[in-house]
């Protein structure tokens, strides 16, 4: 695909996404679309660390939850605008990511992934027992100020749709910029051959920490959006391993290390989830995990390049492995 055709396709997709809620008015469908956008945003955020740098984190809910809790607590206790809370959450999550990344990056491959599971489980346990943070019961956000300024919309879910879309576009833009920067090339080098990267002057710790800080900040912003949309957060919904796995699965399904892979992965996964809910009934977490597990195994074995692998392989011909052939 030429650059111009790519830009045109992108603008068309954006226009379609912007017009979608006007064409589909059913609230349940709009809600599904919001969930899809939010899942896509988290997958794109996860991809910076898991896809480009190849550091598979199964603990990203810790950063998502940090965003949700920081903005909610700041608005409940100090009356801070959730928009500012979103930035504060991103900063706190970045700092937290650097603190946990430092020791975890000493571990390689599966051990790193397991350590990140431990991180999210520990954070969940701590918050569960911490009364001032709402403990296991969780936090109900006050309906004090509705409208854009207060980041609360109770008449229609539509504004959340556009905010989720804007956040996804922002996250994609950050990802795009990173991929073209010195850091982006270094991350891909670290993923392929860490020793060769070091021999060329690349500090593994420094660039992995940059990646996790950025990835965590974006995931935290998704957490704030979730809190403002649901107006209720608890450790089980925001700080869980199953949410962490979902973030990674969205990227793995779509195609790790590609810009739009997680968006496609989120669309497919959301459809599968809704479908399995219809078939198996209820919203039991059990079926979700079974579906996630099955998909991970299938893709790891049969299609490591994800859905993007099929798309680029078929539509763009052999050169498609390198969508950005010229840096």
């Amino acid at each position: 695909m030429s650059r111009r055709a790519g830009t045109a396709a992108l603008l068309a997709a954006l226009l379609l996404a912007a017009l979608f809620p006007l064409a589909v008015a059913r609230p349940a469908w709009q809600n599904t679309a919001i969930l899809m956008l939010m899942a896509a945003q988290l997958g794109v955020a996860w991809n910076i660390l898991g896809g480009y740098a190849g550091q598979v984190s199964l603990g990203h809910a810790a950063f998502f939850g940090t965003g949700a809790y920081v903005s909610s607590l700041l608005s409940m206790r100090l009356g801070l605008s959730p928009w500012l809370g979103m930035l504060a959450g991103a900063l706190v999550a970045s700092a937290f990511a650097v603190v946990v990344g430092w020791p975890c990056f000493r571990l390689k491959g599966h051990y790193f992934a397991m350590a990140t599971i431990a991180v999210v489980e520990i954070v969940q346990a701590v918050v569960n027992g911490w009364e001032r943070l709402g403990g296991a019961v969780g936090l109900y956000l006050p309906l004090a100020e509705t409208g854009f300024g207060g980041f609360v919309f109770n008449r229609s879910k539509l504004p959340y749709y556009y905010i989720a879309l804007a956040l996804l576009v922002l996250t994609l833009a950050v990802n795009w910029l990173v991929a073209r920067s010195r850091t982006g090339y270094y991350l891909r080098a670290i993923k392929d051959e860490p020793d060769a990267a070091r021999s060329l002057g690349v500090s593994l710790t420094r660039y992995k920490l940059q990646a996790i800080a950025l990835s965590a900040a974006l995931a935290a912003m998704g957490g704030t959006l979730y809190a403002q949309k649901e107006l209720f957060i608890d450790p089980g919904s925001t700080l869980s391993t199953s949410l962490s796995i979902k973030m990674s699965l969205v990227a793995i399904l779509g195609g790790v290390g590609t810009l739009f892979g997680p968006v496609i992965g989120a669309a497919v996964l959301t459809a599968v989830e809704e479908g399995s809910r219809v078939i198996f009934g209820g919203t039991g977490r059990g079926t979700d995990l079974v579906v996630y597990g099955l998909l991970i195994v299938l893709f790891a074995v049969y299609q490591p390049a994800g859905i993007m692998g099929w798309i680029t392989g078929r539509w763009l011909g052999p050169r498609a492995e390198r969508p950005e052939e010229e840096p």
Binding site: R182, D195, R198, L200, G201, E325
Partner: protein
């Protein structure tokens, strides 16, 4: 004048195994030093210590007068030492140009500048027509050349080449030898670990011979080729330096 590289009594032990013992040598600016020895003699271990991948058990490594033993690889690279790997480690998920770009980004932080430098390096080693290809599609000879190009893109003062001629055809070896000569002509000193002595002997200013972790000879190629200890240890009766 202090030499570019001074290695003094370098020792590296792995548990009970001593891979390098009391290895001392120097390399001057713009010099080509050949490092030879039988398999398992400890040549790659010397490189790993020089490049910061191993912390030596004892001894010192001074580069441009500064002690670098024990520094991490990225710090050694920043000081101007570049290396290739005996078993190639190219970035398979990247194009040829992107591989070299990663090297060029060390001295040129802006991506467009680094791209220009990377292209220059690719022209120098004759890989520029492969620039847009995925690195994994290169032949073995080209992959080795790509590693050299990537290392050159970091603009080193000293280049450590680990068996870049092994497994190449005779014609490819001649190309590689020519390339090493041109690298030296740019003022970059090279330490060349090699099994293909036909290649390295004619261009080396000095030869270093390792046997079971110890340096058993250090001198001009012709003297080395006729040194009875070296012949016994490694070269075998059938080999003589060209013209000797």
């Amino acid at each position: 004048m202090t030499p570019l590289l001074e290695v003094e009594r370098l020792t590296k032990r792995f548990g009970g195994l001593t891979a390098n013992e009391d290895v001392s040598f120097t390399v001057g600016e713009g010099e080509i030093a050949g490092l030879i020895g039988p398999n398992g003699a400890g040549k790659t271990t010397v490189f790993n210590s020089l490049a910061g991948f191993f912390a030596p058990s004892a001894g010192s490594i001074r580069f441009r007068g500064e002690e670098i033993a024990g520094l991490p690889p990225e710090a050694v690279a920043a000081r101007g030492v570049a290396r290739t790997f005996q078993i190639v480690r190219i970035f398979k998920g990247m194009t040829v140009l992107e591989n070299v770009l990663v090297g060029a980004l060390l001295r040129h932080r802006a991506v467009p500048d680094a791209v220009a430098r990377a292209r220059e390096a690719l022209r120098f080693t004759g890989l520029e027509r492969r620039a847009a290809d995925p690195a994994g599609r290169l032949t073995v000879a080209e992959q080795k050349r790509l590693e050299v190009t990537r290392a050159l893109a970091t603009e080193p003062r000293l280049l450590l080449l680990d068996e870049v001629m092994a497994g190449l055809t005779a014609a490819e070896v001649q190309d590689a030898v020519e390339m090493v000569r041109r690298i030296r002509d740019r003022g970059i000193a090279c330490v060349v670990v090699e099994h293909v002595m036909e290649g390295i002997m004619p261009i080396a200013d000095r030869m270093l011979v390792l046997e079971r972790g110890r340096l058993i000879a250090d001198g001009p190629p012709r003297a080395i080729a006729n040194d009875p200890a070296v012949i016994a240890a490694y070269l075998g009766e059938e080999y003589r330096a060209p013209g000797a």
